[in-house]
Amino acid sequence: MGSSDGQVLGLTKIADAGPAVQRWNVVIVSEGYRSAEMGQFTIDAQQFANILLTTAPYDRLRAGINIYRVDVTSTESGARDPNSCGGTGAKPKTYFDASFCTSGIRRLLVGNSGRVIKVISKLLPQWHMALLQVNSSIHGGSGGAVATFSKASNAVEIALHEMGHTAFGLADEYEYYAGCASDNGHDNHSGSEPSQPNITTNKNRATTKWASLIQASTAVPTTQNANCAGCDPQPTPVPAETIGLFEGADYYHCRVYRPEFNCRMRNLNQPFCGVCQQVIAKKLAPFLPPS
């Protein structure tokens, strides 16, 4: 198992914004693709690049973003899918040993991040964000140093959410831990102010983290959870994209606020909220060529 089960073929730039030393460099690495399937990885990686560069705010920042593909073959296709989690029991020999059912969690798809980092650091020392695309149609993925995602429809959303964490330090904006129906001990956020830029315990309009983005006409707090024993069931009282203080975030039902009713850091298939977009834009500003 491991690096003897395949071969690193090389690096290809698939979105070229300029020299790597000056740009923000995203690298997408193949896992569980046999040599005969590398053509498919070329298509999959390009598809990811196209989605990333048309997703706000990356679409406005594309002049500062390079995307590279690292072709790595595996002896066999797919990822391990243990029976213990209700999987097929498949145990393919792959380069990065990607497996579902990590820590006994069915959808938790994880590869050997250390090995991914070693491979890409050799090929492109200037990399900023690493992604591992796993050749499996089962829905799954994971975050961390290397954002990992399968080929299931919508799994690219996992990569976009995880990039928010890994590259920009964004917090989770969902207001539950295991789920609204099954949470226990997640009623009130009783802690200090979170260090992440997109959640806050400060409900003061003038001093809260994203105060400059809140319109004078927007109520603050914008929503309040009437029953902290569960998630707030009310729909948004304001039009989409309104920035305010919405109660419930950071795995707690109450006493912590998110900037918009919805966001990709709260739920997949949603755009990034205005605050997250601003954070990403600020972090990527030094990578843009002078205009």
Binding site: S103, I117, G143, C180
Partner: protein, 237 residues
């Protein structure tokens, strides 16, 4: 007598000839040294220029890499050595260090420091976070002044984000105790940077109380107190 004098004169002239030759050799060596000294910055500049261009790496056209080699050859030529003034000064490449950490439970180790010429995203706020919760890395000066700070989504959590097809709750968390892994922080490589520190909010132990159902354990990732320093490492110079 005359013979002895002639011999002495011959010996003298041979001696002075050897001295002159050795003087000549020293001058030549000195001038070679000075040329080499002058050549060094030119060579360094050429190397850095080539490195910069190579950083663009293999684009789809292999032409890019062959182009990168040309200037390096030019500047090592005699012309470049004898006329160092003709070498244009280059803009400084941004210097950075890629720090790779590994963790096992609560233990964090710095496993490598890789110097890289690359642009680093700007620092997070250096002030006003003293009582904040979370996880961050800082570059400190010898006087322990914070020079750079990067807020991270806690990479040493003992739970994991899980994704489902449920459109209402497509993301949730599940305990995943005793996780091991790696994480990477890229920081600017500056003269003043002396150490790197990691800070994390304190939390509960990584063990579920006996009999507690899955998902009810107080998780380290849910630590609510202000972050405190958990590790400090020297930066290589």
């Amino acid at each position: 007598m005359a013979n002895t004098r002639r011999k002495a004169t011959k010996a003298k002239s041979r001696k002075s000839l050897t001295k002159a030759k050795s003087r000549k050799r020293t001058v030549a060596a000195k001038s070679r040294k000075s040329v080499a000294k002058k050549a060094k910055p030119a060579k360094r500049a050429a190397k850095s220029k080539a490195r910069q261009r190579l950083a663009g790496l293999k684009s789809r056209k292999p032409v890019a890499s062959s182009k990168a080699r040309k200037p390096a050859k030019k500047t090592t030529s005699r012309r470049a050595v004898t006329k160092p003034k003709s070498v244009k000064p280059l803009a400084k490449s941004p210097k950075a260090v890629r720090l790779t950490f590994s963790y096992q439970g609560d233990q964090v180790k710095l496993v490598s420091q890789q110097p890289v010429e690359m642009t680093v995203p700007p620092s997070d706020s250096l002030k006003g976070y003293e009582d904040h919760k979370g996880f961050w890395a800082e570059v400190k000066s010898a006087q322990d002044k914070t020079l750079f700070r990067r807020v991270l989504h806690n990479p040493t959590r003992n739970d994991a984000e899980v994704f489902s097809d449920d459109p209402e709750q497509s993301i949730s968390r599940e305990p995943a105790p005793k996780r091991t892994g790696v994480f990477v922080v890229v920081v600017p490589d500056t003269e003043k940077g002396h150490e790197v520190t990691l800070s994390r909010s304190s939390g509960q132990p990584d063990i579920a109380p006996e009999g507690s159902p899955r998902g009810m354990t107080a998780m380290r990732s849910l630590a609510t107190g202000p972050a405190t320093e958990i590790a400090r490492f020297k930066l290589k110079k």
